[in-house]
Symmetry: C2
């Protein structure tokens, strides 16, 4: 099988309140929200999350993001300012309470739910211990031109990641030092090497499986519904919330990949954790929805899905001589990973055996090992170096667009930058190479860590990268958790979902297919990706 | 305002395994299921809840229900027996577990949920402490000709109840003795008398608000979905589960009533209990459903709904000189009662004041006092007497159809029947006059109670009626509660929902608009309406 599949996701950040665009990877720091949040590699955009307002003050703070961008942007703002907008933070508290009640009802009857961690069985048994997903009560204002740019760059990133994943030599070489300091990446690379040796250079290609296509899609529906219901009071236009078709796009991509596998009896296997409170997000992809316009797998595509843990796959999995993977007597056509990104998902050799078994099989993997490796920060950093993008992309416009997203990302081998970071640590963030750690280093700890690394020698350098620190605007927002609506200071991140599917000959699908807006409480006013309570949100184009 | 409205329900029972048809009222004995289950007056049909089977043995046990019925029925069975059916009780346990898992996922993401009583806030705050509603895993087999008959008789019952409710004299006279022994009915009658005195003879007419139009509709969708998904394994045809449009019908009826009120600023008010774990069933009627084909109020009709307790209505309600009811400055067009049927809903005079206030207003009430009174068992018993139906209906066919449903219902003034019941108490049930009590008397207690009443004198007789006892077939069924699927012995009841709306001149709506199948664990093998754990179910036409 030469089919490839990707339901992903890029690695750029646009920071609306700065003149530079920074690369940035989403982190697994959604832990307050969901302890099982998986790697979500996506384009992250930081809006200016201030109130929706008629004044131009907030929009004028936005920076041009390409040549001529300022003029274009100002025009857009001018056009928009003629439309009525309310100051959401002067809303009558009683109205807020009514909207909050309606939002809670909406979540309950539309499946915008997660497992409640205070109920022991809620991560294992569906239907018990349900609680509404943490959400923002209202959508977040976001500049329309940045939104368009984010959507435009999505397919280019898909293509780039695909081509990087195909270049085994580049991956192995770029990660050779990382391998020495990061045991987890090292294990992944071992599997990757084994595939290369087996002549599987053009193996199936995929990328990181992102969380929340299901629940994220619902939040934009909820917000659209509230804006319609309270149109008079809010004066907002629900059509300015872009449709979020992530769940459709993902289901379509999985179904098309399954078609490529060409075995009508094969199933789609979801690789899951043993406990998963975010299971309903996953089920939105795999379960039919009889009243729906969503093209879910069962209903629209007549594809059967099964759910297995890595340990179960090791126990029940058998590889047939022709490469077919059987799990419990069922042929697996497509493997969709919603587990396996964090070292904690591999408590024993059993899980690693399962991962290798799947990689050796002819099943279409989302992601394959090479995609998994292509998603590491080190690769991102390599791509940011001069002339590296040209190795993978031909179109100069595309290269320019991607390069804009790659400013402000450095290796610790760059002594000028390290020197500057020791002197002005407040402008940098140190990030571990591997995704999912969530242990970013800020402030004076950057200085201390860099000095320690300098003493200890260069080896450890490879485990970290330096990034220009982002200071997104912190603004009051209505957040809802556990049935309670409270106002808090928060910041937002926009991620764009993409789906990419290619077989040996052709690209079958390469689409921007949805988004995820996350709004986080800035508990310490630290800015950046401050750890803290996060909710699902949607975008209001401004 | 001369508009009337009914979202109801009748009072008949067809017992499939007997040659007689018994009248029977649904009881509030859903307590294991939901402590706030309200009066559900509806036609109840007892199917033979045995396994779905290819043999004719179960169907041949069904009785003719009209002249020529037997022949017709046998023909239907013959035609149907050519279609494949599985013996559901020989299903592979692993398949049962897979279906149970899928059913639990389905309930969670489609809002087939209730409040979990182990979570304190679950009856007050939406979105927290959710758990799937108790359901049967698979639909209950039911004879198609009985189904058709049940649907056919529904509009006739609507009309009958409407006409009875208009006959204030009949209501007061029939209930004069009940008034002396039942304090709750007595209070209702006082309000009714006051309305009659005020010349409100043609007041708004409505009937009992039935529970579960929302969740009941979902269960048939769930079962249809499972039968589709496991078509190969089960060999059942999902099209034999009738569409359950109860939520559509109720929403349409409420919206049409609101239109009749002719005040675009008026709202629909749901009268609710202070704690309500079945709130999502109610919200299905009042909340929009953006992906749906359901005509809910907000979405399709642009009608605003509010929720108030009786105490809140007393506190915030004001009657304007023109009869308009204002609650918190909002004009009330339609009042939909989901509380106020049980004496416990009136802990103080405040709640009674609220009930009177609403009755005095021009709002369209569902139900009005006269409909509430028309739903008492005593009225049913009066209607069963010779020549009483003729007072309300002209069409002889209609009268015959209704009369068939009124066999086996007697007053305690009928000395022959009382004598027989003392001798053979096992064939009778003693029921309290008032709905919602749930304290039916069975077995030897019938004899004791009748003897006690004979000693105490005739006054107390009026508080009870005697009914022929029904012995429905008990059969093993898969029931799901709290995330667990277990096989138990159970019996089922079918109720038909009707919606009826009339203004002074015309009947605007008179439809059979859905059904509710409830399956109950027969804990004691007592038969009849044995108290016990009950689940929501659907119908499989056989």
């Amino acid at each position: 099988m030469g089919a490839g599949f990707s339901s992903c996701s890029h690695t750029t950040t646009f920071f609306a309140a700065s003149t530079t665009l920074f690369p940035h990877r989403s982190k697994s720091n959604f832990s307050t929200f969901n302890p099982h949040f998986k790697l979500l590699s996506q384009t992250l955009y930081y809006p200016k999350p201030t109130k929706i307002t008629t004044s131009r003050s907030s929009s004028s703070a936005l920076s041009p993001i390409n040549s001529g961008g300022r003029a274009e942007e100002m025009k857009t703002q001018e056009e928009k300012s003629t439309q009525p907008m309310s100051d959401l933070h002067n809303i009558d508290p009683e109205l807020i309470q009514r909207m909050a009640y309606d939002a809670l009802v909406w979540t309950s009857i539309h499946g915008l739910v997660v497992g409640d961690k205070s109920v022991p069985r809620s991560g294992k048994v569906p239907g018990v211990g349900l609680v509404h997903a943490p959400i923002a009560l209202l959508p977040m204002s976001f500049p329309e031109n940045h939104w368009k740019q984010a959507c435009e760059v999505s397919p280019i990133f898909n293509e780039l990641i695909d081509r990087v994943s195909l270049d085994g030599e580049f991956l192995q070489e770029s990660l050779s030092r990382t391998k020495m300091v990061d045991a987890f990446t090292s294990r992944l690379m071992d599997i990757h090497s084994q595939m290369l040796e087996n002549g599987k250079r053009e193996i199936e290609i995929n990328t990181i499986s992102a969380s929340f296509p299901g629940l994220g899609s619902l939040v934009s529906e909820l917000h659209r519904s509230l804006l319609n219901q309270y149109k008079e009071q809010l004066g907002l236009d629900s059509r300015r919330i872009p449709r979020n078709a992530a769940v459709n796009g993902f289901a379509e991509a999985l179904a098309k990949a399954w078609e490529e596998y060409s075995n009508p009896r094969a199933v789609v296997m979801f690789v899951v954790q043993t406990e998963e409170r975010n299971m309903y997000d996953q089920h939105w992809l795999s379960t039919e929805f009889p009243f729906s316009c969503f093209p879910q797998l069962c209903n629209t595509y007549d594809v059967t899905t099964i759910r297995k843990t890595l340990a179960e796959i090791d126990e029940q999995g058998v590889l047939q001589p022709d490469g077919t993977l059987l799990v419990g007597d069922q042929a697996i056509g497509v493997i969709y990973f919603r587990a396996g990104y964090a070292p904690t998902d591999y408590p024993s050799e059993s899980e690693w055996r399962a991962r290798l078994l799947m990689e050796q099989s002819s099943a279409i993997k989302c992601p394959s090992i090479s995609y998994h490796l292509a998603g590491t920060k080190k690769i991102q950093q390599e791509l940011a170096k001069p002339n590296v993008l040209e190795r993978f992309l031909e179109n100069k416009d595309d290269i320019a667009k991607i390069r804009k997203c790659f400013a402000g990302l450095w290796s610790l081998d760059d002594s000028d930058i390290v020197k500057d970071a020791i002197e002005r640590p407040e402008f940098y963030v140190m990030k571990p190479q591997r995704e999912g750690g969530g242990n970013n280093i800020y402030g004076d700890d950057v200085r201390k860590s860099l000095l320690r690394l300098q003493e200890e020698g260069a080896e450890e350098n490879a485990a970290y990268i330096l990034m220009q620190r982002i200071f997104p605007t912190i603004a009051p927002t209505y957040l809802m958790r556990d049935g309670i609506c409270h106002k808090d200071h928060a910041m937002s991140e926009l991620g764009i979902y993409g789906a990419y599917l290619r077989n040996k000959e052709n690209v079958i699908m390469n689409e921007q297919c949805g988004y995820l807006m996350r709004t986080k409480v800035s508990s310490s006013n630290e800015g950046g990706v401050a750890a803290g309570f996060a909710v699902l949100d949607s975008v209001y184009l401004n």
